[in-house]
């Protein structure tokens, strides 16, 4: 894909985030979509391309009353929206559609009108993982981390610092769910969920949604918001079974998607002003820093513990507070993308001054999938 040929011209989250007991999941999709349409100064009838995950495109498109001639129902977990952005950019460039709407919403906390996710007892997961007592992502996603720590010499305190630093960012964000400062001691003394991870190293469980609108860069200059261009993209999948990952020392899906996006963007790591790494759990930013090539894995824990990713640090990371402190409805990738777009527009609550390039890296399932989008506000 060529650089900067497609831009985000509309971006919005649901009107409320957090606990939204009076709204169903499908209406959260609509709320986010209508907010994004208003942000872009468009009408729903202007949309000719549509993508969403978990729910089918036909369900949400019909609810919204739109008639797409291009759809993408890629549903690979929380990074599905990164893949939608990549696919939409390719489709727009290929002339398959002009204006794409991508929606996400989840009644993750209130469970209103939520599509159930079932694992059949005769699936691979049902036969070879479920019988051993895995249930929530908290029982599965941290399984690799002890091996990662042993291989790379990462300490419990360093991983706890991921949560501490993200709370510092969240404190600057009025829409963040958790804002009160925490210390490493607070993290390491919080309630045990799945050793070695405690509750402050696990993501929040909230309701919410978000939507993006993409169009060609040529048209983007006519929209009310500052265009945010797609500079580079990457994607991959590995396995739905965490036990069958190639290695726990890194993520194969990360190592495919991330470098692909950097190569396409034609940038070096020192060019990155702002970074989002999907943090369903506190080890993910460390995997991301290593697998995206910012530094060897051996240095990731120290890099965070030394304060390099905190407000004022040299590599601002997860500046909305992340899935650990901002919000996490179940598929957080959309909110990471929203924060990257806000940073590139210069409108983020914790704005990184003068930021020109933002890398947004997502994970799906338990390291099952990955998508990376690199944005810029300069064409």
């Amino acid at each position: 894909m060529r650089r900067n040929q497609v831009a985000v011209v509309g971006a919005a989250e649901t009107t409320e985030l957090g606990v939204i007991p009076n709204t169903s999941q499908i209406q959260l999709h609509a709320d986010a979509a209508l907010n994004a349409i208003a942000d872009a100064g468009l009408k729903l009838s202007d949309i000719d391309g549509f993508a969403t995950a978990v729910e089918t495109p036909q369900q949400i498109a019909h609810y919204l009353g739109i008639t797409p001639s291009w759809v993408d129902g890629t549903s690979v977990g929380g990074c599905s929206f990164m893949l939608h952005v990549r696919h939409a950019a390719a489709a727009i460039e290929a002339g398959l559609c002009k204006t794409v709407l991508i929606t996400h919403a989840e009644s993750g906390k209130s469970n209103i009108g939520r599509t159930p996710r079932m694992i059949g007892p005769d699936s691979f997961n049902g036969q070879f993982e479920l019988p051993y007592g895995v249930s929530t992502p908290a029982s599965m996603f941290p399984i690799p981390v002890l091996r990662y720590m042993k291989t790379h010499g990462i300490t419990h305190e360093q991983i706890a610092m991921v949560a501490v630093v993200q709370r510092e960012w969240a404190a600057k964000n009025p829409r963040a769910t958790m804002k009160a400062p925490i210390t490493v001691e607070d993290v390491l003394n919080s309630r045990m969920i799945a050793y070695p991870f405690r509750i402050l190293q696990c993501c929040l469980v909230t309701d919410g949604g978000g939507a993006l609108i993409l169009t060609s860069a040529d048209r983007a200059k006519d929209f009310p918001q500052k265009p945010v261009y797609i500079l580079g993209t990457g994607e991959s999948v590995e396995t739905p079974m965490v036990s069958q990952m190639q290695t726990f020392d890194s993520s194969r899906a990360f190592k495919v998607a991330g470098p692909l996006a950097f190569k396409e963007a034609g940038i070096a790591h020192k060019d990155v002003d702002h970074l989002m790494i999907y943090d369903a759990f506190a080890h993910l930013p460390l995997y991301g820093l290593g697998d995206l090539g910012f530094m060897p894995h051996e240095e990731t824990g120290k890099f965070v513990a030394d304060g390099n990713t905190r407000p004022g640090g040299k590599l601002p990371l997860n500046t909305n507070g992340g899935g650990l402190s901002y919000m996490h409805s179940g598929m957080y990738g959309m909110y990471a993308l929203q924060e990257s777009v806000r940073q590139m527009r210069g409108l983020a609550p914790a704005q990184v001054k003068g930021a020109k390039i933002s890398v947004c890296h997502g994970v799906g399932g338990m390291f099952a999938a990955s998508g990376t989008i690199i944005f810029t506000n300069e064409k």
Binding site: Q127, P131, V134, S139, I143, L146
Partner: protein, 136 residues
């Protein structure tokens, strides 16, 4: 009311030999006749070279602890805290399991410790391969 039970696996035609094996007290893996690759979970072709010529064989049952969590949340059929582990079999493949017959603590569960399979009969249909610290 019956006690809540742990999730039961349901074999498919391609995995039946594995679950027949655990019932018979054997941990059965597959090896590619073409490239000699040993793999798991079961499927009737080699995921490395795509050959359909593969054989089922009895594995040693020896493994090393690759990684784990100690889960503290309630799950039907389990008494927390309990380990959810991934073990690396001597033959190469990894599988999820529970490490049993030892304290469910970080001190007792040391990465790379030697383990051996222990078959846990759930009912007449299903026997699960669990692992315990190797003896001797």
């Amino acid at each position: 009311m019956a006690e809540p039970q742990r999730a039961r696996p349901k074999p498919t035609p391609e995995t039946q030999h594995f679950w027949d094996g655990t019932k018979a007290g054997e941990l059965r893996l597959q090896r590619c006749d073409a490239c000699a690759s040993v793999y798991f979970p079961p499927r009737p072709f080699c995921p490395k070279c795509a050959s359909r010529k593969v054989s089922v064989f009895k594995a040693s049952g020896r493994a090393k602890l690759y990684s784990y969590v100690i889960h503290h949340r309630p799950v039907p059929g389990f008494v927390p805290p309990y380990s959810i582990a991934v073990v690396e079999l001597d033959e190469g493949p990894r599988m999820m399991t529970n490490v049993v017959d030892c304290p469910q603590t970080p001190e007792a569960l040391e990465l790379d410790m030697a383990l051996e399979v222990k078959f846990e009969k759930l009912d007449d249909a299903v026997t699960l391969p669990l692992f315990r610290p190797a003896k001797g």
